[in-house]
Symmetry: C3
Subunit: 159 residues, 3 copies
């Protein structure tokens, strides 16, 4: 029976810098052969959005958040020093210069390494997000599934 | 001897969305029979405020924060998409539509399930909050009590 | 063989209130004889900056963040109620009145108690921060070192 160490991260935040931190920790833990789960809730779900609009019928209220929130990993802003969008551009530029992976590449690597990406179905409802709008290859679950993983994990972070 | 799993959450944030996340995780863990503690510190204490002003004598500085901070779970704003108070209204509306519990109901449920709600006495002093201003049925303690719980818990989150 | 309990904190945030919370938890855990590591990443690195400018040659982009970010523990703002710098002044005043340690004193105490302060080298590169600009007596490492500590710790927080 395999007894892999486990790591879970709740990604609540929709900030580029926090998402980068979450994926660097997740990929690091996966490289150490941990079983890693990232549970995306609230604004963290924006990290998983496809970058072009997906034609789904929505009510007025469902559109209130959906239309205003960033579409995908490439569009997120910084929690600080956002400077009207200049901050994220600088960070991306400097990351490239240092040969660091970009957020979309970090997400791809996570999927290749078998990191489980789980979208929180309850907050998808609250924010009016549909499965069609999120990237492929992810799971959908509620808080119970997260807690099941977290109770068996050594490292549990809320980001 | 009962050996219940333990879960602790530090609720530092005073945002509606983060408080909802904290209480959903706490109630979930309690439903799995974990012993759960939420330790409220800094702006997280606002979640526990009574919703009407309580007549207590305060100095000028003590009022600086107290008068400006939201009174209770019903008055919290969102960490994003607050849109001058429209965001919280939408979230509350949509939660109701989906038959999700409101934050005040989540707090009540937590208390019914025996989740220990602990107000951090040190930060109460810093923010000029008095016991009379907080809801009934909560505990008061310092960081030492939190650490005692956290060292025995499997899941420890800072929200 | 000593089997000390371990505690790790990722300090991602550059807010005064969150830094105070991180150091109070860290010092509390150290007082209980835990082996404590704080891993400073992104804006959390500002906590470790020396308070006067250090003459280092930097490129234009490296200066974009460096010049705009607070220099050291004394200059951090609050995550809320910052009120154009009045908030931090009040907090510092009230902490003094209650004989609570200031953030610089909390950092000193942490170093005296053997709390390991680790600056994340990768994010130092991203933000254009150099070793000469950070306080003495700290370590430098990457996410792998953090994960090594976290996997052995009972309490792991992301602040």
């Amino acid at each position: 029976m395999s007894q892999k160490e486990k790591t879970t991260i709740v990604l609540f935040s929709g900030d580029l810098d926090k998402a980068i931190a979450a994926f660097i920790i997740a990929n690091g833990a996966a490289a150490y052969d941990h079983e890693v789960t990232i549970f995306f809730t609230f604004w963290g779900l924006n990290t998983l959005r496809k970058d072009s609009p997906v034609p789904v019928k929505k009510g007025f209220l469902e559109n209130m958040f959906g239309k205003r929130m960033p579409r995908g990993a490439n569009k997120l802003g910084l929690s600080r020093m956002n400077m009207a969008g200049i901050g994220p551009k600088i960070i991306k530029h400097v990351m490239k210069k240092h040969n660091a992976l970009s957020l979309p590449q970090l997400i791809e690597l996570a999927q290749e390494q078998g990191v489980k990406l789980v979208a929180c179905t309850m907050t998808m409802d609250l924010l009016g997000l549909r499965k069609e709008e999120l990237i492929d290859g992810i799971d959908y679950a509620g808080v119970a599934a997260y807690l099941g993983d977290a109770a068996e994990a050594k490292v549990n972070l809320f980001i």
